[in-house]
Every structure is written in structure tokens, then in C-alpha cells.
Symmetry: D4
Subunit: 248 residues, 8 copies
């Protein structure tokens, strides 16, 4: 990448009269877009720096992951890895002894100075036990950001009383993440009961005409209960990240 | 179609010695399949003659429909027409003054001697008002067969208490037909509450990622609640016919 | 529906000794689920009664719509109709002279005592002019709830500078609704720039391999930018309702 | 979960005059939904307790399965496991020596006191030998519930006389489960012959434009023969459970 | 298009010595591909000239169709138009008084000197009355080519005895075209009975999960009965053309 | 299965006067469908006995396959196995020492008395080398039936001159099987050149938007060239069987 | 939108010493992104200003279109409208008397000073006459940009010699746009013959398993012939625009 | 294949008078199409011989690949293998010691006399690190053809400033290949910034509703930014080949 003349040099020229205002204007108009842009966006990034760095491990080699983790470690103090293997954990552990793996969620989390926001919790609800790994990915995401959570696992509509039992506790949360495979019915039912937003997460748990999560995805997108929005199939991280920004 | 030598002629030949047994066996082995077949199947048909004749009007001209109705009238005393228009009704009315149209269901029914089975009723449940035409097609189908029904309309999960209110009445029916468009969630919820079979009918009521009924169809096929089977989108007739044969 | 013995009668019986405690317990256990349920849910409904009644007009006759509107008018003072026609508007106008139609959004809104929440606004962003009707449906939904909005229309990525121009204003909103047809790229780009949640709404604006909104729906579900959740194709109401509950 | 004041305490208060009727009504209205609900649903569950507990093993570890089996064993005397492996069987065998595996069906069944209903049998029909595992899953499901079955395996329409041979026997059953992969044609043919309901089960047996069962699923949903309803691809358990509730 | 030096001129040059063999070879190697090609293909075309010209009218204006018909009339004596309207017929009638429209098939046929091949007939079979237009398009196609046909209409599997009645007649044909909408089951059943090839034609007759013919198309492609090949949905012409070349 | 009174006994009764004609007629009308049916179909089967027995090995155990092979061996002298493994071959070899495996086609063929029909050959054409296994399955199918073939492999349109080179030889065949994956273009091109029927076989060779053969399947179904019919993806056997019945 | 302090004011402050360099740097870093961005992008836009403004008329009212056209007219001298109706043409004609409509292409073009690039032409090829409207949209797009074209219409592979006839002329173009519906085979064949890039345009011309252009789209994406890229179904404009930038 | 009489023999016959012109014309008209065709196409092929031979290794055995490589080596001096394994590399290395493998791209390249065109470079842009293998396949393809490239990897829109930083460099290239999985948004954004053609390559990198690349494929086909054309999912070779022919 070519070096650009610095902003400072232009301003100095204006100050000491070597560059006229019109000339400076022209220069600035053609001034490399990037420099200002970069600064601006970085500043802007600073404002939300509360969020730790995240590495989506799937499709990366252990070597690549460790290299990225090392780079992040230099200028940050929190790190989340999703879709990580045990092998990745061994390698990361050597670099960050305080890192902790959640084998269900397949996440690795590291926080030098853990934070917790004082706010209403995020409810995390699953229909079946098979949906728990996705729910746990959401929970770990919220945990490293510092948002509190409350779990309601295995309360699918085949035994709807298990869900109804928790109506009040559910409704006292700030937002709900509802994770369901199979028919994906749960978010609609929860959305009909609570008065806060519901983030629906379809999972790939199912078989036959489930088409790896397409069935619950469509169910959720067509939810009759208003107040339901949807993220990608199995995207626990996305649901957690989205929830972390809501109703703090 | 060619005429076949009659069975009777062969038997007479055997009786009067003109045809030997071996020869008769050969003849019978090559005997036109159809004649016996036809008889057999007709006898078999007789056994279930309780069911009236049905005309699916969609894609047929008024002339064709009237012609079929006239033929049925000759040897039957009950008739059901589905997907019928007002124009068809006018024409049929002239032929069968006792015929009655259900404009919501778009059905025309005629029964010289109406029958009613003494049996537990069939519950017909809909999620929204838009699903009622399909439910009514099921109800008319059951009515002309003589099966009693009980309706629970507009009890979708967005206001789940409307459904729960009716738990006991629902459960006292012999079978439930549950009709739902949008997310198609209702049959799963009903299936989790009642102890009898649930026939789920997806409808084409919806928009966007609903894909004309594909979304609720998949929801229903993947139902977590056991005891749910599914018929084609908008197939109120099929659901009614299927239910009519259950738990009489 | 059968009448149930009232709760009060059971309690009176206990009080005057006519019903023993064990007997009362048994009665209560079999007590019609519905009554309590109903009360409970209605109370719960009361808590969020801020939300006006909504009628989805598509697929309903003018007669049906007016009837529902009349019922709502009795016990409420706000009303929103979506996917309404001019014909519906004429009929509703007679009933509710203060009703106002937004012909772009195809909504009819009525509020006896309009409210406005004091909160950061909801940004409503569209890629093209064809997406504006869906955006307007979202805006009307937010308006009748009392949430303020700020519009950024026609800022699609084909002329990405139009979007970048508004980075700061966008980022000062509480949440963004981003509406896009065609390639559905805009929510990903907005999500990469702002630090609050993005609600993505795919629209059916497009042709060919757009498949009536499937293309932008998939784009949005797969967004690389975290903090994006999706509602159904053309579901401006759903996006507005969801946004209304966020970061007030 | 918070403890709630018991119902009994409220009734005692009413009885001994410490709680007035109005006060009690208020308490009951806010009475934790769940307790009554739970009781009610459990009672209701009792009514259909004929059905044994079922564990869908796919996606669960051996440890998880054994733990669930142990819990069920405590308060039940029948157990069915579907999609089980030999490894699961070894572990379950140690816990329940009387358990029996059907390796074709991949089910494990255990019944301390086997029951058999006196009722017309359920016909189980398959098109090809490849469809037998799904049929066997249905058969095992019916067996543990106590419903008798009659098998008609490998009678697909490529050799339609094999099916026609059994017309009478088929028709004497109470209901038929028809299992077919490939073109999924068999349920339509059986539905055209018998006078009782047909539960169609598409299987994932096929290749090419079969799309893992989509082809027979669509065939069955569009069946011209009335009296056919469909369950999910390969869902032998669902078909068996549904059939168990029919025409006993 | 540029004129090319004719082949004859090159050969004359060789004959009279003005062009050497090497030079001629070079010329021929660069000789406009097209000329020879054209000739060759035309010759080849001549060999199969038995087949009349065909105009697919859908998407063409009446003007365009008449113009093409006029061109064909100059050098041919047979003409077939598919997907034609009454309006087209009026216009064509003026040009070719002997033309004849089949309103069911929506075809217009004209033959100055009708021919009939002496060969076993082509069986044309339909499942329902709704499939007849497609069958008639096939029949008209075969008729103008001169191939005899035998019709078996409305013999769908819901009343399978109607089909079995005709086993022998069906089997005595040279090839069968089997047309079916809904579940598309009929070609599999016919294929299991006859010993000659079956050309399966799915139709767009159906609703719901029929997806405009996708359901019967998949059924037919997955047929368990060998000896079945498939043409496009509603492609009666294609089936007729294909059949016309078989087992003459 | 119950034993039925034999036909012979009835006829004897008629002959010796013990059974009257009317009584015999009644008996015959209720005569077990199956027996005649079976006979009839077997006779009919006899007529086409030219075709050897076929075992589709995929999804069957070696044990099952050997068992079927042994049964066939008893009353037949030819056998074809498709989708066979080397392991199956070893087992079959022990039973039928004359069996021969084609490892490309994954077929095993056995014929005690090989036959060859005197007829025009079937052309087998492939687009690429990856399509050859499917072509070879077709070739083996034709070989065991006794039909001669001519191969034109690897003549895809990327180098269209390779195909055009063979126009005359192609056209002198009785029918062509054209096998192609990727874009599935070849059958359309062949169909535009030859004057006999083309059986198109899509293969699963491809990647990306090929969707395991869906792309060439759709290409072929929509072929502009008349005279093209299609079989299932990778269905070399089906194409060979279909071709074997054409233009002998 | 808030007004931003101008760049010029900052520079003046630096020049007259009222603003120090560090302060100016800070100001510039936070300087509204947009202003510079806008300028930059506009300059950049200027560089390619050869391209006229384009209005996609579908889904816009005549009023909206005329308003946009009026705005463009102010600062430009060329205009292209796609998917325009006759009604739009009447309105535009009043504004721009020199505008010219192509009714086949449904485009309206206006150029005060028409330009023509000196470059090799763009070949525009269609398979059938039904594909011509899309081809004409591409041609009009290229015409208003000033790129020359050469048409090869109706040269589909059903009569492949028509295409081969033009090999040399085709190959002498700079790039080819190949438009095809039905099976979409033509771009693969052209790609196998010419040595320049082929832009494939699938059209919605077809029926049945064509799925409104999906079939040819997949064919083209899977083309065996390298050198083929694809644009959206019916996107003649996109193909023309893309081609206009190639090999000038 | 039969031997044909050579062209030369015919010309000699004409020269020496043994063959008359008419006779020669007839012979030539029936002259085996192939010979001329072959020559013609080979000549034509010669013109673009710049392009090396390519072997798509997927689905071929090592033996087959080596055999093809050996054949190519005889008459060419450049070779590219795509989708190659390490095992293939070992075998090829023995044959062509100068061959070089790119393990990321899974390509093997060999060039006796490497060439480099003097032309503006082709930009290769990727959204994420997971898209790099496909980008590298494109780069290797361009390298062996001799076209220079410039890489812009990992500049996806989640951090859009990384892309904007490179606007000028990007725009100075002749054409851009933009590779993206997930939401496939990047080509639209690049297309909105640069003034040269963009070749979009969707990748199979993603999960859930990504459907192995379908999501980014649809995004790209529907791009709002004109000047974007698309190749198959993961088709780095196709993109590179297409780009190599543009704006040299």
C-alpha cells in the first residue's frame, strides 16, 4: 500500500503559508479516504469496545487460531472462541492459562477482568435437550459481555405445562432467546405469553422434512405472535450478541 | 372395448360337457381379469357405501359438473361438492332442489335421507379466522357422512389462553382436526394437551416466507407432540374424510 | 360452552363449612383451568396494554373488518389496521372519523389520545424507493405505540456514500429497522457501522432469482455483521412492533 | 424456582375465618398458575398413562440416555427407546435386564407387565425391504402399547399382484400404516383398496431426485385416494403412536 | 452475413488446374463451416421430414404466429400448433381453411395429405379428467405424425379396478403415455403391469404441496417400476413426439 | 394366509352337477382375487421373461443379497446386480462362479446362456469421464438383456467437435442414452442432431449450484429439442432397461 | 440533517492562527465523514460518467418516474428507462420529445448527443424468439452507452447448424451476451466455440419444471465451458451494462 | 470409428479428371463432417492456445490424472490441475519435476516457459479468511495464463473501512474477482465503488440457512450494483479464466 502524505503536513503548510486554502481544500478532497475513514471508524469502534474479540473457529486450523488469539491478546483482555475443538483448547490454554472451555457450547472464553452489567437478565429457553449446545453458545456470549442470564431448558410444547409454570419468571427478564429445533414452535408460544422481545434461534436438531433447520426457521419467521425476530440456524452467538444490546 | 365371452357361458359348457375341466381352467386363467375384478371391487365398495359421492369442482366446467351430478343422482342419495362456485350452485339447485351451499367452505351438500352417527364428536379447531373456510370444508364433509362435530375457532397461540380454556371439551372429542396457516404452531400445542389423534391441516393463509403453506406444512410434519398426522395444504375435505373413519 | 361452578361458590362453601378442605382441594384441582388462566393472562395483558389492537386486513371482508373495529372501539382507544384498502378506509372512517390512512403503508391508524414515549428514536432505513411501503408500515406501527422514529430512505449500497453520510445520526438511534429487497445487502452494511441492534426486513421487491424475497431473506439470515435479527418478508408491522420493545 | 404458598393454606385460612372470601379470590387469581396447571395436566396425563415413556436416542450420549432411563424406571414399568445403538443397548441391559433390542428397528423395549389390547390389528405395509426398519419401529411402538399388528412387507406396486393378494386381510384391520420410499406410491394404492384410514410414512430410501424422502413425502401429501394422512420422513414411531389411538 | 465463395468454384479451379491441391485443401479447411454444415444438416433433416412443423403459440402474438404459419405453408403440407387460442384459430383458419382446432388440447392441426402408419397403437392413459387436455395434446401430436392411438382416460388408482380392467388392451400397445397430476402415482402402477415402455407426463393439476406439478414429477422420476421415463410437466407434445419414434 | 378352495374343485362340482351355474357364478365372483390375479400376472410376466432378475444392492446386507441371488438362481439363468461392492462380488462369486463384476459400473452380471438380439445398437453417450460409471451401468443392463450398444464417451459440448464427428454413427443407432452431469447440456445437443429417441440421464457429477444432479435434471426436463425423455439422477439401470424395450 | 462546519473555515482558522494544528487535526478526524466522502465519490463517479442515468420503472408510478426523469434531465443529457410501459412513454415524451421507445425491450432511451465507441462489437445471441425482449434490453443498454452490437437471434441448439453457421462472426466480437430460456443450453455451446467471454442471461421463458427461469439459471451456473458468467433471470440491462465495460 | 476417404484423394480425383465436379460436390456434401470440423475447430483452438490444459481432479483416480498429464505434456508446455490432493502432487511431481502445488488453492501448476501479459492487474478480493482457498484457485489460474493480480483479502463488510481503505487501488485494476461466503454481500459493495466489471464468486463457507452457498449465490445474482456477473459456488477457476479474457 502506498504511503500517503500526512494530514499534519498539509495543515503545517497552511499554517506557515506554504499552502493556500484553495490548494489545501483540493488536497483534502483527494486526501486518501482511508486515513480519515480508518480513524473515524476506529474511534467509533472504541465506543463499543465493551465487546470482546470473537474467533469463529470452524474452518480454521489450530495454527491460524492461535496466531489470531495471540494478536488479540496484545491489545485486549477478553476473548471468545466459538465452534472450538478440544484440540484448539489445548493450544489456547498454553497461551492463555485462564481460558475456560464449555464443551457443550464448544466455546472457549477468556476474560482478564470479568465484568457484569447491572441489568435485568436475558432469559434463555430451549425446547429440548438437543437444543442446549446452541443455548449455551448464547449464554457464553452474554457471559463474556457481562450480561446476566436465566435458563429455562427443556420446556418444549409437548409438555406445555413445564413452560407455563415459568410464565412469571420468564416475563420478568429483559428479553428472551428461545432455541428450538424440530417444529420450532416454542418461540411463538413464548411470544404469546411474555411482553418483551423474543429472539428465536432455529436449530438443526431434527430429521426428515426438517431439512437441517429449514422447518423451524420457517415456523419462526411466520410466527403469529408479534415481537419475535429470528437469527440463523444454530446461531447461538448471534442471538447472544443481539440480546446483549437490548434493554440493558 | 372388446366384448368378452361371459363366465356363464363357460360354466354352461362345463355343465353340459362341451368344455372339459382343463379347458375351462385355461379359459378362466385367461379370463378377462376385469370382470371378476370389477365385481370384487364393487362388492367391496358396497361395504363402505356409507360415504356419499364427492365432486372436486375446481378445474371442471359447470356443464361437466352437472352431468356428473345427474349420474350420481341416479344411483345414490347423497352428494358433496367441494371448491364449488355460486354459478355451480345455481345449476345444481335446478337439478337437486334440496342442495345447500356453504359459501365459506365453498361446498354444496345434498342428502335425501340425512344420517347422524351416534359417536363422540370430531373437534375442529382453527388458529385464525382466515383458516375457517378450510375448517368448514372439513365440517361439511363430516356432516354429510353423519359424524357430529364441535368447533373451536380462532384459538391460535398468540392468545394461548383461548385454547387452554377449552382443554376439557377438546379432550372429550374422539379426534381433532386442527387447521392453521401462518406458523402452523397450533397442532403441536393441541397435540401436547389432548390424548386423542390430531389431524393437522396447513393452510395457504400467510405471506412472505410462508411460501403458500409450505411453512406450516413443515412445522406440522416436524411436530414434537406425538399423535399428529398431516394432510395436504388447504385439504379440509381430506381431513374430514380421514377423521370420519376414526374412533366412531 | 358449559357453565362452571364459580370459584366464589367453592370458597363460600369452605367458609360456611359445607365443603371440607380436602373436597375443596379436589374441586380446585379439577377447577376449570380456563377461569384462572383467563384472569391471569388478562392481568398480564393489562401490563402491556400500551399496545393498541391491530387488524391484519388481508383476506378479510370489509364487513368483517368493520365488525372487529367496532368491538375494539368499545374497550380501547387506539387501533391499527395493516394491509388495508381504500374501500376499508371509507367504511372505517364512518365508524371512527378520526382515523387516518397512510396509502403508501396501506395502514389505517386511530388514536383517541396519542402518546409519545420520551426515548431515543428508532432509525428506519431503506435501500430503495420500492422498499418504502414496508418501511412506512413499520413507522406507523411505532407511531401509534408512541415511539419516535427517524427515516433514512433510499440509501442502498449501489451508492454507499449516501449511507456513510448518515453514520453519526444512525448511530445515535436506539435501534435500526433496515428494509431492503433485491440483494438485501443493506442490513449487513448498517450492522457493520452502528453499535445498536439492527432489525432486518427483506422485501418482495425484485425479480428473477429473487424468488419473491427469498434472496434478501437468506442474505440477512447469513449476515456477517453481528447484531442483526430478521423478520418475515415484507413484515413492516413485525419489525415495528419488535423495535418498539427495545431500548426505550 | 420460588416456593408458593400452598392452596391448602389458603383454604384453611378461609375455613377458619382468617382469610375473607374476597381476599381468597384475589390470592387465587394471582395464585401461581403453575401449581394448578401442573396438577391438572398430570391428572390428565394419568388418563393416558397407558403410554410408556419414550427416549429418542439420536444426538444423546450413552450417559444421558442411561440417566433418563434410570429416572423413568423409578416411577414407570415400560420404556421404549428409538434410534438406539448397540452400545446403548449394552448399557441399558445392565440397568434393565429384561430389555430387548430390535436391531432392524434400532429400538430397545422394556415392559415389566406386557399388555395386549383386544382390538382389531394395525396393518403394517412396506413397499420394499429397505423400508422395513421404519416399519419395525412402528411395530415395536405398537407392541409396547399393547396393540396387535399384522405385517405385509415388500408388496410394492412394481409387483402389484403381491398387494392385491392380500386385499381382504388388509381390509379387516382397523387401520393401516403404509411405509414407502422411492416413489412413495403404495399408500395411494392401498388407500384406493381398503376402507379404513391409512397412515403414510415416507422413507429416506432412494437416490437422485428422491431428495432424502422429499419425493415420497410429496406423493403422499397429494394422494388422490382419500383417507390418507402423512407423518414425517422415517417417522415409524410417530406412525405407530398415531395408529395406537385409532379404532381400538 | 458475408457471401462465401462456392464449393463449386473451388472444385472447378482444381479441375482446370488454376488451383493446386494444397491450395484447395487450405481453402477447404477454411471453407465456411456453415455451408457444408448446413447442407449436411438439411439432408439429415430431410430424412426425418415425416415430422410436420410445430409452432408453440404461448408467448407469441397472433401476427407472429400467422407469419410463421404462412412461411411453413410454402414448403410443407402439415402443421401443428400447440397452446393455441381461439383467436389464433380464427386467424389461421383464414390462411388454412382445412385447419382443425382441438379446444381441449388447445392445438390446431393441418394436414394436406393425412398419413397413418401401420403400427401398433400408442396407449394414452390419464389418471383424472383434469389431465385430459395434456393427453389430448399428445394425441393430436401423434395423429398428425400418423401414429394410431388408443385412449384410457380417467383410470386413476383411487379406483384401481378401472385400470386393471384394461390390462390386456394396454399391454397390446407399442408404448404407453401416462398422464397424471395430483400424486402422479399412475405411471408406476402402469409400469408394473405392462411390458412396453411408459412415458410419464406429470401435470400441473393439483393444489397445496403439489407445487404446480413438482410432486408428480418427483414421483415419476423415482418410479419403482422400471421402464418409465419422464418429460416436463404438462408436456403433452413432448410425450407424443417421443412416443412417435418408438416401436413403430 | 388362508387356503382357498381351488378353481378345479368348483369346476368339477359344475361338471358333476353338484354345483349349479348360479351358485358357481357366485363362488367365482367371490373367488379369491389373488389366485387368478397371480396366475394372470405370472403368465404376463412369462411373456417378458427375457429380462433377467435384478438386485439393487445399495442398503442391503451381503447376507440378504446372497439369499436373494440363491433364490433367483433356482428358477432363472440370468442375474444382474447394481450398486454392488467388491465384498458382495466375493460372496456372489462363490455361489455363481461365472459371475463377472464391472468395477466402474459397480454391477455384477451372470448369464448361463448369454443372448444377443439382432437389432440396431443403442448409443451410449457421455459428456465427461465422470459420467462413465452411470453409462457403464446402462451398458451392462443392455448387455445382459442381449441388446448391442455403441459407446461415445467424453464428447461434451465444451469440445463440441468431438460430438459432431460422430453424427452419422450416432444417427444410425436405434436410440441414444445420453449421460451428463455438470450443466446437463449434452442431451439437448444430441436431440437436435439425431432422429431417434434420446433418453437423458442426469448425473450427480458437479459441485456448487449443481445440487447433486438437480441442475442437469432440470436442464434435461426443459430440453428445447423434442424427442428427449428423462430418468432419475444416476439411474443408468433405468435408462438401459427403458432403452432395451425401444426399436428392437 | 445537521449542518457541519465547513472544511474551509477550519483551514482559515489554521491559516490565521486561530486554530492550532493539533486542534485542527482533532477537528478533521471528527470531521463529518460524509462531506469528504461525498466529494470523493462524486469525483470518482465523474470518471465513469460516460454511463447515462437509468430508471428501473417496474413498481414505480408514472408520477414518480417523470419526477426522476426531470431531475436527471437537469444535469445529464442521456437517460435510459427499463421495464417501461406505453403509459410511461407518453408522459416521458412530453418531457423529452427526443425519447424513443423500444416496445419489445420495454425501454425508453434518450440521448442529446449520441456517442459510439470505436471498438469490437458485442455479440447478442438468443436461443428462441421468446428471448428477444431480454436481448433487446441488453442491446438498448449498450446502444445508449455507445457500444456497437451484432445480433444473432433464434439460433438455439434444437437447430444447432444455425449457430455453427455464424461461428466466425461470433468469434470476431469482443464479448457475447447469450440469452436463453427453456433448458438454457445455448451459453455452454457458444462458450465451447468462441474464445472471448460469454455473459449468460437466463430468461423466464418456459413452463413446468422451468420454475420461472431457475432451470436455465442452474444450467448456466454449471456450464462445462469455461469463460461463462451469469446475471439474474431476465436481466438484459445487467448483461448489457457488464458487457459495456469489457474489452473496449 | 470407420476410416473416411481423405479430402486430398477427392481433390486429386477432380484434378486428374477421375471425379467430375458434380460427383465431387456430392462426395463433399456427404463428406464426413468431422474432418473439416475437426480441422476448423483445431485451428480455432490454436488461436487461443495461450490457455494451458486444465485437469479437474475431483472424482478422478491418481492413475487417470497422471495418464492425462502425460498426454498433455507431449504437445503442451503448461498445465493446471484444480482440486488436487497431496497424493496427486507426489505422482505428478515424478512426471513433471517443475510442478508446484498451492496447498491452500489445492492446485498444481506447471509451466515450462512462464509468461506474463503486460496489462492492468486483476483484483482478487475476499470477504473472510475462509474464502481464501477459492481466491487462490482464481489467482493460480490467472498466474499460469500470465495475467498479473493484486490481492485484497479479508476485507468483508463487517469492518467496511478495511475495504474503503483500498478504494483507489481497487479501482485501478482492470477487473475484480470478489469472493465471499456467508451473506455474499461484498460484491455488491465493491460493485458500488469501482468502475470496472466485478466477477462475483459465492463460496460454500457458512452454516444454517446458508445452504452450502445458495445464500450468497442469490445475493450476488440480485446485486443492486450493476456491473456484477456471477460464477458457480466455489468456482475460483471459472472466475479466473473469465477474468483472464477481460480488458487485457
Amino acid at each position: 500500500m502506498k504511503k500517503h502524505r500526512s494530514l499534519k503536513a498539509i495543515l503545517s503548510g497552511v499554517q506557515n503559508g506554504k499552502i493556500g486554502i484553495e490548494e489545501a481544500l483540493t488536497k483534502l478532497k483527494h486526501f486518501p479516504f482511508d486515513e480519515l475513514t480508518h480513524t473515524k471508524l476506529d474511534t467509533h469502534r472504541e465506543l463499543r469496545k465493551g465487546f470482546p474479540e470473537v474467533i469463529f473457529c470452524q474452518g480454521k486450523t489450530v495454527g491460524q487460531i492461535v496466531e489470531i488469539a495471540r494478536a488479540i491478546k496484545k491489545h485486549g483482555d477478553r476473548l471468545l472462541m466459538t465452534r472450538a475443538s478440544e484440540e484448539v483448547y489445548s493450544a489456547v490454554k498454553a497461551l492463555l492459562p485462564g481460558a475456560r472451555m464449555n464443551t457443550l457450547a464448544r466455546t472457549i472464553a477468556y476474560a482478564k477482568h470479568p465484568v457484569v452489567y447491572a441489568s435485568r437478565p436475558v432469559a434463555i429457553v430451549t425446547a429440548g435437550t438437543g437444543d442446549i449446545p446452541v443455548a449455551e453458545e448464547a449464554r457464553e456470549t452474554l457471559a463474556i459481555i457481562g450480561r446476566t442470564t436465566e435458563q429455562f431448558y427443556d420446556v418444549g410444547v409437548a409438555g406445555i405445562h413445564r413452560l407455563l409454570l415459568h410464565t412469571q419468571e420468564l416475563d420478568s427478564c429483559a428479553v428472551a432467546i428461545v432455541v428450538a429445533g424440530m417444529d420450532g414452535v416454542l418461540p411463538s408460544v413464548v411470544g404469546g405469553i411474555v411482553s418483551h422481545p423474543v429472539i428465536a434461534v432455529p436449530t438443526s436438531v431434527g430429521y426428515g422434512a426438517h431439512f437441517s433447520g429449514l422447518a423451524p426457521l420457517l415456523t419462526m419467521l411466520n410466527s403469529c405472535a408479534p415481537g419475535v425476530a429470528v437469527v440463523n440456524i444454530d446461531n447461538g452467538f448471534g442471538a447472544g450478541y443481539f440480546a446483549s444490546m437490548i434493554n440493558i
